[in-house]
């Protein structure tokens, strides 16, 4: 989560300085504890993960190289998306990380489908699938359909619900009418877990239990955490709609500072150790940006403009 914060600070400054980043920047500041706590429970090369907008921390914890992030934000021809898609829309589906589309809730059924096929082919074992959603995304039909389907199939799916109080600018009060999104778990017939979204220890405990339950045949799990997004929807947004009292409430706590205090209090890592991590992180980030920055940008004349893998069915292709 420390590295994630540093990556995102860098992405924000690259965005504001103009020029290098193509398109928007969407950050997960304030949600790192919640996101990373899921990512660290997953095993790269075994589990499947469909991260969403504010999951830089979860991506790093899962094992996504920083280069994938910077290559995609810079739109280089070398990254997994090769300039064809950008920013948070990156992934390597064959390696277990799905590439989200912008339509919220749509990934729930796709992750479920991967698990479904594994069960069909006898390769499910104790693997799990996980994906994320926000408070706003839970209002979509796709989310509902996906949760219901996963529950019917009793597949090992973990869905993390980050209730960061605002879907872009729309507050919870205009998004849903139930008291707590956790209540929905019971309606779907899945196990629900509540964690303190700003507290890494609480997040780790909740996700560890949820992932273990899914791995051992407990069916879909839904983990809900509440926190405040410590920034705008994207870096273009000053989040002026977030009231002062929310910023100063317990939801507005910075999970990174909370985690640092916990680490020090429990004698797990001193402030000096954390500063050391920061320095290492800076080096990793600088190296990744330097490499991505040297790499070629996509060339429209070399681009294969074909949306089908069966090339003889691509219209207008002469071969």
């Amino acid at each position: 989560m420390q590295l994630s914060r540093q990556v995102e600070e860098k992405l924000g400054s690259l965005y504001r300085s103009g020029g290098r980043i193509v398109g928007g920047v969407y950050l997960g500041k304030g949600q790192e504890a919640f996101s990373a706590a899921l990512g660290v429970q997953l095993v790269e090369g075994k589990d499947v993960y469909g991260p969403l907008i504010r999951d830089q921390a979860g991506r790093i914890a899962f094992g996504e190289p920083l280069l994938d992030c910077f290559r995609t934000y810079l739109g280089t021809a070398t990254g997994p998306m090769r300039g064809r898609d950008g920013n948070i829309h990156r992934g390597r589906p064959k390696e277990g990380m799905l590439a989200m589309i912008s339509h919220l809730g749509a990934l729930v059924s796709v992750v479920t489908g991967v698990l479904f096929a594994r069960r069909l082919r006898g390769s499910l074992g104790d693997t799990v699938g996980a994906t994320s959603i926000g408070d706003g995304g839970t209002s979509t039909g796709a989310f509902h359909e996906g949760m219901n389907l996963a529950a019917v199939e009793k597949l090992p799916l973990i869905v993390s619900v980050a209730n960061n109080q605002f879907a872009y600018s729309t507050p919870n009060s205009r998004q849903f009418a139930c008291e707590d999104l956790l209540l929905r778990a019971e309606g779907y017939g899945v196990q629900g877990w509540s964690v303190t979204g700003t507290d890494l220890a609480s997040c780790l405990k909740g996700f560890r239990a949820a992932v273990a339950a899914a791995r051992s045949g407990g069916g879909p799990q839904m983990v809900v955490g509440r926190m405040l997004r410590l920034g705008g929807h994207g870096e273009h947004d000053d989040a002026s709609y977030v009231p002062e009292e929310a910023r100063f409430s317990h939801l507005g706590q910075d999970c990174l500072m909370v985690a640092e205090k916990t680490l020090a209090a429990r004698g797990l890592a001193s402030a000096e150790v954390v500063r050391g991590w920061e320095q290492e992180g800076r080096k990793l980030i600088d190296a990744a940006i330097a490499q991505a920055g040297r790499e070629p940008l996509p060339d429209p004349y070399r681009e294969r403009w074909d949306a089908l893998s069966t090339s003889h069915l691509v219209e207008g292709r002469s071969e």
Partner: protein, 321 residues
């Protein structure tokens, strides 16, 4: 042996399941019940654990298929009616249609769409969706008009490493019969001259092929030889075969059952106008359904879609020019 168009679709699914353990069927009521039209009759029993009932969740059904395809499976989805695929539209065009291009991972899924009008089916059980889906990149749209094509093109679709919208016409389900399934002949992407002629070309597909062939019979009594082209797949569209036919006849009518604004017939006319303007002896024409929802009562329905009469009238206008 005599086989209906619907039975051919069932047989193709049987064969796909038999040939490849990665194939599975997923759709509403398709398991023990055998599907609303019985296109999967008995398959759940013959292939235990590979034919699944789905909840009424077209969006999640397609999402599940995409995820399964990423993992190496080859799902065949049944939409109970093509009309309901609009609920899964986002997953079809944005998830399945963009998957390969965005991530380099192919998306081999086949979505069966029981399409088109039948008497008494009304606005929400009669739609033809081929024009809508053809508009989006990353999808293959097949529209079989014969029993043989229903069988072979469904098997071909399952083998393709791309998402295929398999538009099977409900009007042909029961009364279109063939003595045998023949042999695999033309691949997806190739059109067929269903009837040779020299005075005008009618390009069409799916159930409208049979209306066009009847119209050609009728016009022959007046001494006109009408060439009828069966597109078989509307995307990719076999422009070469269309142009070659227009080169022979100099006149073009494109006939389709979907709504008139834009779509497959407009695409045919646009391509011929742009690429073979000099071959045309008359302005190219197109004929589609009317621009209203599809009516319930057979009296209205029969006038809503193109018929032998309206096709013949259009061809006569084309010939008089």
């Amino acid at each position: 042996m005599s086989l209906t168009y619907l039975e051919a679709i069932r047989e193709a699914q049987y064969e796909a399941l038999r040939q490849n353990p990665d194939v599975f069927l997923y759709g509403q009521d398709i398991g023990a019940f055998g599907g609303a039209f019985k296109a999967t009759k008995g398959l759940a029993r013959e292939f235990p654990g590979r034919v699944f009932d789905a909840p009424i969740s077209e969006d999640a059904m397609v999402g599940l298929a995409v995820g399964a395809a990423i993992e190496g499976a080859r799902p065949i989805l049944e939409m109970q009616f093509a009309d309901f695929s609009s609920v899964g539209f986002n997953q079809i065009v944005n998830q399945a249609g963009t998957q390969y291009w965005r991530t380099d991972v192919p998306c081999p899924i086949t979505i069966r769409l029981p399409s088109g009008g039948t008497p008494g089916s009304g606005p929400f059980h009669s739609q033809s969706m081929e024009s809508i889906y053809a508009h989006y990149p990353g999808l293959v749209i097949v529209t079989p008009a014969t029993v043989e094509d229903a069988y072979w093109m469904l098997l071909d679709s399952v083998e393709l490493n791309d998402p295929v919208m398999f538009c099977e016409h409900k009007f042909l389900y029961y009364h279109l019969k063939a003595d045998s399934l023949g042999e695999r002949s033309l691949p997806i992407g190739k059109a067929r001259i269903a009837r040779p002629g020299r005075h005008a070309t009618v390009v069409t597909y799916s159930a409208m092929l049979h209306e066009a062939l009847k119209s050609a019979e009728e016009l022959q009594l007046d001494g006109y030889q009408i060439e009828v082209v069966d597109l078989r797949s509307v995307k990719p569209m076999d422009t070469d075969t269309i142009l070659a036919s227009v080169a022979r006849t100099g006149r073009l009518l494109a006939v389709g059952e979907s709504f008139p604004w834009g779509g497959v017939t407009a695409e045919i006319v646009a391509r011929v106008s742009a690429e073979a303007f000099h071959l045309l002896d008359a302005p190219p024409m197109r004929l589609n359904s009317k621009d209203t929802p599809i009516p319930y009562h057979p009296n209205l329905w029969k006038s809503h879609r193109p018929t032998v009469t309206t096709i013949s009238d259009a061809v006569r206008r084309l010939l008089r020019y």
